[in-house]
């Protein structure tokens, strides 16, 4: 694929069984962006405009305009029920799985509206991966957990390539050394923290561009949490990460930008350093300092 990448460019043609094309597609924009990017600036990876979400008659999200920057960690914070997870789930159309959920507005991934008809949702979820609150490995071996995605997306031509992807993903997730001698054991036999890193390995095995994380550390102990946070920091070099967290300290530690949600509205968004030392909005101030009634 040699044509220049442009926001108008629709990659539907690339959504094919051809593994080379699928792999190239994710590489080209990144390489170009890196070349074009001025130092310290980050392009917008996901742009959301006036996003509303309804569950039946009930509106859960109101006109959210938010830009997610490429290769940055964006933390979504706010009290329970504020809409941050709902927003996160819009970014890879996970809300489609809920019958009564309806999404309006525009969500642009690299300039393409992901809610447009004709978008392959399975392909979208390969580009925008997700890690959940509770580690949820498949009831299969460690190897199979990671190999599953690349296999169904046709990312490997043979066993050797698949092995490479699995090993590489486990290495990137910081888990390989701990599991290399027991790849055939069930993933569910690992510790909670290891299971979560296995899920992260599984998510990155399909070479996503964006990784969504919904409270990835809330079921983990401090050591496992620290490992996942360290991993998030490393993954930032190659991936755009959006993380929902209830831990203010975690948001402050891992993210470069923070967005505060409250009652379905985006209250404030800005550089994390500023948000946690000198937020503008009273609601953000009250929430992060533990004053919300």
């Amino acid at each position: 694929m040699t044509e220049t990448y442009s926001p108008e460019h629709k990659p539907e043609a690339a959504v094919s069984a051809d593994p080379n094309k699928a792999a190239e597609k994710t590489v080209i924009p990144q390489a170009q962006h890196a070349a074009e990017k001025a130092q310290g600036e980050h392009d917008i990876k996901v742009k959301t405009e006036k996003v509303c979400v309804f569950y039946g008659d009930k509106q859960a999200l109101f006109d959210v305009d938010l830009d997610i920057r490429e290769r940055q960690v964006t933390a979504l914070i706010g009290p329970s029920g504020c809409g941050k997870s709902t927003y996160l789930r819009c970014l890879n159309r996970m809300n489609d799985t809920i019958d009564i959920a309806r999404v309006t507005g525009r969500i642009m991934l690299d300039g393409e509206d992901i809610y447009e008809t004709g978008v392959d949702v399975v392909e979208l979820r390969a580009r925008v991966g997700m890690v959940f609150q509770k580690p949820n490995p498949f009831p299969k071996t460690i190897f199979e957990n990671v190999a599953y995605g690349p296999r169904i997306h046709g990312l490997a031509r043979n066993k050797r390539e698949l092995d490479e992807i699995v090993v590489h993903s486990l290495q990137r997730a910081g888990l390989f050394e701990e599991v290399k001698d027991r790849m055939d054991e069930p993933g569910t036999g690992l510790s909670g923290g290891q299971q979560q890193r296995l899920c992260i390995a599984r998510a990155i095995a399909v070479s996503p561009e964006v990784i969504l994380m919904d409270e990835p550390c809330s079921a983990l102990d401090p050591i496992a949490t620290a490992k996942v946070e360290e991993l998030i920091d490393e993954l930032r070099e190659n991936y755009t990460i959006v993380i929902v967290t209830h831990s203010m300290q975690q948001a402050a530690r891992v993210s470069q930008r923070t967005a505060m949600f409250h009652l379905g509205y985006l209250v404030e968004e800005g550089p994390t350093d500023v948000m946690f030392t000198n937020p503008t909005d009273k609601r953000t101030q009250d929430y992060i300092t533990g004053r919300f009634g």
Partner: protein, 232 residues
């Protein structure tokens, strides 16, 4: 202080306690400074002794505030205004502790020159300088209590006057020393005292800057200080 209370009430209590300790320390330091200058100008050795030994109490408060603030950070991981509140308490108590030390130093010098007569002009000069610095210290502690940035700014600006008076006092003492070498011993002590007082003014402006940061979350813009260099 903060607009509304925390969900955890003991957290509020801890922050209030910090502010209370700063107010207490501020009051003590003010008194120490006032008395050290009084001891100097009236050659009152008892008062000077009292100031010297009183510094221990200030040091103790300083340590307490620091420990308390560290505990708040460890226990609560304060954010936003709470974080600024905690960090400001540490910074202000450092400044106040230094003011305490400088006052103690003035008191020690008062003891060193107790038997010498200080000329009326110099006495008046030091008196004037110290009353300005004392006012600065009082005002800045009021500004802290009220979280009043206007007042903090006013303190910040008024420091130039102290610097100017210090410089003129410095010249005057030089003249005295040149006129009669027997004045050199006494004048040198007095000069150090004047320098201490000028430094106390600087600590008041430090505190003013901290208050500004505490309230607004931004550093006070560094205006070019016109004219006076006080590197002497």
């Amino acid at each position: 202080m903060s607009s509304s209370d925390h969900i955890v009430t003991s957290y509020d209590e801890e922050l209030r306690e910090l502010a209370r300790s700063i107010a207490e320390m501020g009051g003590l330091v003010e008194q120490q400074f006032e008395e050290s200058v009084a001891a100097l100008l009236t050659s009152n050795t008892d008062l000077a002794q009292q100031v010297v030994s009183g510094d221990r109490q200030i040091n103790r408060l300083h340590t307490e505030i620091e420990e308390h603030a560290i505990l708040v950070i460890a226990k609560r991981q304060p954010m936003a205004q709470d974080l600024r509140e905690t960090i400001s308490a540490i910074r202000i108590s450092n400044d106040l502790e230094r003011v305490g030390d400088l006052s103690k130093n003035i008191a020690k010098r008062a003891l060193a020159i107790e038997d010498q007569r200080i000329s009326q002009t110099l006495r008046r000069g030091v008196d004037h300088l110290s009353s300005l610095a004392l006012k600065q210290l009082k005002d800045v502690l009021d500004a802290y209590g009220a979280r009043d940035t206007d007042k903090a700014r006013a303190v910040w600006r008024a420091d130039d006057e102290i610097d100017a008076i210090y410089v003129s006092l410095f010249r005057e003492m030089l003249t005295y020393m040149m006129e009669d070498p027997r004045n050199i011993g006494m004048c040198t002590h007095l000069l150090f005292c004047a320098k201490n007082i000028e430094r106390i003014g600087d600590h008041a402006t430090n505190i003013a800057e901290t208050i500004f940061y505490l309230v607004t979350g931004k550093p006070m813009e560094r205006m070019e200080r016109a004219g006076i260099l006080h590197t002497m």
